[in-house]
Amino acid sequence: MNTEQLMTLAVNKNGFVFDPENGISYTVNETGLFILQKLQSGVTKEEIIDFLTEEYEVTAKNAESDLDHFMAMLKALNLIEE
């Protein structure tokens, strides 16, 4: 997984995300923001699932499937590459 594009994003703590390279902005919700920040700090998928289940009322299984879905969204938005 190539997260280079992701590293350049400016992420504010209200969930406003700005891409300085092309001027496009995004909105993420609280858990989306949580995951983006973890991805930017370079942790693995497994670690993110652990963080999520520690912080939130969610099972590892659900967190994993949501994370996969979220990664797919990021991919669709060209923010990460396979």
């Binding site: 995300v17 496009i24 902005s25 995004y26 909105t27 993420v28 919700n29 609280e30 858990t31 989306g32 949580f34 995951i35 983006l36 999520l52 520690e54 912080e55 939130y56 009322e57 969610v58 949501d66 994370l67 879905h69 979220f70 969204m73 990021l74 991919k75 669709a76 938005l77 060209n78």
Partner: protein
């Protein structure tokens, strides 16, 4: 304590060129009904707009009849008015040869005004008043008795009019499914139905022509029909043995499920609902195993409603606005709500865009225009981003909506029919203020404000 969780979500803010980022396009959209472009329908008739397909209605009726006939040839499918009693819709079924099944004075009058003679009307329901029964009996209708008071009333009328009314007894029974609709008719297992026949016969004033049941609606287990038919046929045999009466017909009511998906059902209705053939086979198995049937060849009647019309009806609605919900879901406000689409409370209806949309999907909830929290047309489903004025098409909505719709806040919309050659007629015109006020009266002292 851990924090409340919602699924992670990201959305691009600009409404610019989504295409550049779209790796998926909407796979399915519906831009026409029977070849008539939705755009044209919307331009001409506005939204919300109900649209029915005559071609599909006729095809459904013929398919049901043919399917049942494979298993039992002596069958009659009568049109259950309450499912959809717009005159044009009823007349399609009547042209196909269907008699009428009604449950009230209003429906009875409607069938008569559609040109159906009394002797082709089956009169069900728990609420027939004396005047209703007098009229129906005079005109030769079949009365399906729901309770004992009705039986006594019919005897009185028989005396008054010196007519021997034709009736059936409505029977309820255990067919292995729940809920059991025990509030209608007389129970089979506890002998109530038998005692009612005994009482009817001893009165000597009424002609017992048939047995009737309606075990429920949207029945997902075809076997229930096997048990219902078996019990009614056994009962018919008992009536023959004990009273020497040979019945003309066995009426199995309605209840077949359409391809809609119930709210709490996980599997889509297209997969979960039994096929017509499964229902036909269940009823046929009971009929063909019955000695009573071999000897007396009774007419099988079906009062099928929903499955004959649900898929033939569509509702086109326009987007009035949208918002982001705190849950991360997108909410779209449509101009059609549960006021005209009552069955949205029972089903997860299909909602489709009317043109292809590039872009990614978001979980989208569809709300109607009413100022009420209950006005939800469809709970969250992945959907492309819609904009003001875009249209969506909601289906199946052909059953029970244009009868159960309510006059609340909004005018009821145009209803169109696309005929077999693709021409479009309005079969019920959009209401205006006069529909709301024409029955009102303002006392003198309230005229001046």
């Amino acid at each position: 304590m851990k924090k409340h969780y919602t699924a992670p979500y990201i959305e691009r803010n600009s409404a610019g060129n989504l295409n550049k980022y779209a790796h998926t396009t909407v796979v399915r959209h519906q831009d026409n009904i029977d070849g008539v472009p939705i755009k044209n329908l919307v331009e001409k008739y506005g939204t919300p707009l109900f649209v029915f397909s005559e071609k599909h209605i006729r095809r459904s009726y013929r398919r049901l009849l043919e399917t049942i006939r494979i298993h039992y040839p002596k069958v009659e499918v009568v049109w259950s008015y309450k499912t959809n009693y717009l005159a044009a819709i009823c007349n399609i079924f009547h042209q196909e040869g269907a008699a009428a099944e009604v449950v009230s004075r209003m429906e009875y009058e409607k069938a008569r005004s559609n040109g159906i003679p009394g002797n082709r009307i089956y009169f069900n329901g728990p609420s027939k008043r004396k005047q209703d029964l007098q009229l129906a009996i005079q005109e030769g209708a079949y009365i399906h008795i729901d309770h004992l008071e009705e039986l006594y009333l019919i005897e009185n009328i028989a005396d008054e009019l010196a007519i021997k009314p034709k009736v059936a007894i409505r029977v309820n029974m255990d067919t292995g499914i729940s809920p059991m609709w025990t509030r209608f008719g007389f129970n089979y297992e506890n002998g109530e139905a038998y005692r009612t026949v005994q009482r009817l016969v001893s009165g000597g004033k009424i002609h017992l022509a048939g047995l009737h049941t309606h075990i429920g609606t949207f029945i997902l287990d075809p076997n229930a029909y096997y048990w219902a038919a078996t019990k009614l046929l056994n009962f018919a045999q008992t009536i023959k043995d004990n009273f020497g009466i040979v019945l003309e017909y066995i009426d199995m009511g309605g209840g077949f499920a359409s391809s809609n998906t119930l709210i709490d059902q996980y599997t889509p209705g297209e997969l979960a609902s039994p096929s017509l053939d499964q229902y036909a086979e269940a009823i046929g198995a009971a009929f063909n195993a019955s000695i009573y049937v071999k000897e007396h060849n009774p007419r099988l009647i079906l009062e099928t409603g929903r499955v004959l019309i649900d898929e033939s009806g569509y509702l086109i609605a326009s987007v009035l606005g949208k918002k982001n919900l705190p849950t991360g879901e997108r909410a779209v406000i449509l101009d059609a709500g549960v006021n005209i689409n009552i069955t949205a409370w029972w089903y997860k209806q299909r909602v489709l865009p009317t043109k292809p949309f590039p872009g990614t999907y978001q979980n989208t909830v569809f709300y109607g225009p009413l100022c009420m929290n209950i006005d939800v047309i469809r709970s969250a489903m992945p959907f492309p981003d819609l904009y003001y004025g875009d249209t969506v098409i909601i289906s199946p909505v052909g059953a029970y909506n244009v009868t159960q719709w309510m006059q609340f806040i909004e005018y009821r919309p145009n209803v169109c029919l696309i005929n077999e050659t693709g021409e479009v007629d309005v079969i019920r015109f959009r209401e205006d203020l006069s529909d709301i006020t024409s029955r009102e009266f303002i006392p003198d002292h309230l005229r001046q404000i």
